[in-house]
Subunit: 139 residues, 2 copies
DNA sequence: ATTATATATGAACAATTGTTCATATATAAT
DNA sequence: ATTATATATGAACAATTGTTCATATATAAT
């Protein structure tokens, strides 16, 4: 998007190359593949971004995130809300915390969890717009 | 966010209830749990939204999406770009298509894939902002 | 010190997932 | 009609994942 390089390749520059194992691979649009490689994120960053979406990609965790969007909650309330054991919720909160999606605040024996930053609500809202406007091919 | 109901619960309204199996469950903040339940999305919608993020939550598929952000690509170019078999790419494109994240256009024997709508790039960009600003606890 | 409460954690296991391999389909060229 | 090209699809299998169960830890109350 930020890049001014050509956006459509109608000219077919067919070619073939070999991968690191010497295997023969087919490339129809050499320049387009080269562009994709130049623009690609660092592997480390792709992995982290994918992991972030994967964490949001489980119904239990997503429901936790959406519930926290209305304000902080403690573990046993989340368990009651979800109809799951507190252990299961705690395991999922740990994963959410590891990816900086939620943070915790202790008050006595109780831990209150909250969304960690405003990006998360934004991602959810755009995701909702996406599913509400389009493809009916659910699963 | 859009709701004007109370956002923090300092008063602890302890209570217990029973789930549909008659099991005893603990709720520390009754009203907070009730609020979460009122605000929750329909189950069907939560499932779909989670599935959308899950699909973005695999490095291969995320790389496909990010590559398509620079313009359409055919299957064999994506395979070359990713260093994967065309079969593997085709399987993943099917999942992306099932969730309306990409669409396809045929030109002869070649199928060109492109992002299906502008939400997708937005979600990626906000996700990137999130991982670039915060938590260092990677995995 | 002992007990209760709230939550975290490790191991285990069924369920889900991503890739490979073999094969099928769709279009184009001869 | 036959062959080549580009992609799709089903089955199989190793790898990953979410929950449960048992146990550990941290704080508070007595």
């Amino acid at each position: 998007m930020t890049n001014s390089e050509s956006k459509s390749f109608t000219t077919s520059q067919k070619g073939t190359t070999h991968d690191e194992n010497g295997c023969h691979i087919r490339i129809v649009h050499l320049e387009r593949v080269a562009l994709a490689k130049r623009q690609a994120l660092a592997e480390e960053e792709s992995e982290r971004l994918a992991l972030t979406y994967k964490i949001l990609g489980d119904p239990t965790r997503l429901k936790i995130v959406m519930a926290l969007n209305d304000g902080e909650m403690c573990v046993c309330d989340l368990a009651a809300f979800l109809g799951l054991s507190e252990s299961a919720v705690s395991h999922q909160l740990r994963r959410l915390k590891d990816l900086a999606l939620v943070r915790q605040r202790r008050q006595g024996q109780t831990l209150f969890y909250a969304l960690n930053d405003s990006h998360i609500a934004t991602i959810i809202n755009i995701g909702l717009e996406h599913i509400r406007e389009g493809g009916r091919k659910w699963i």
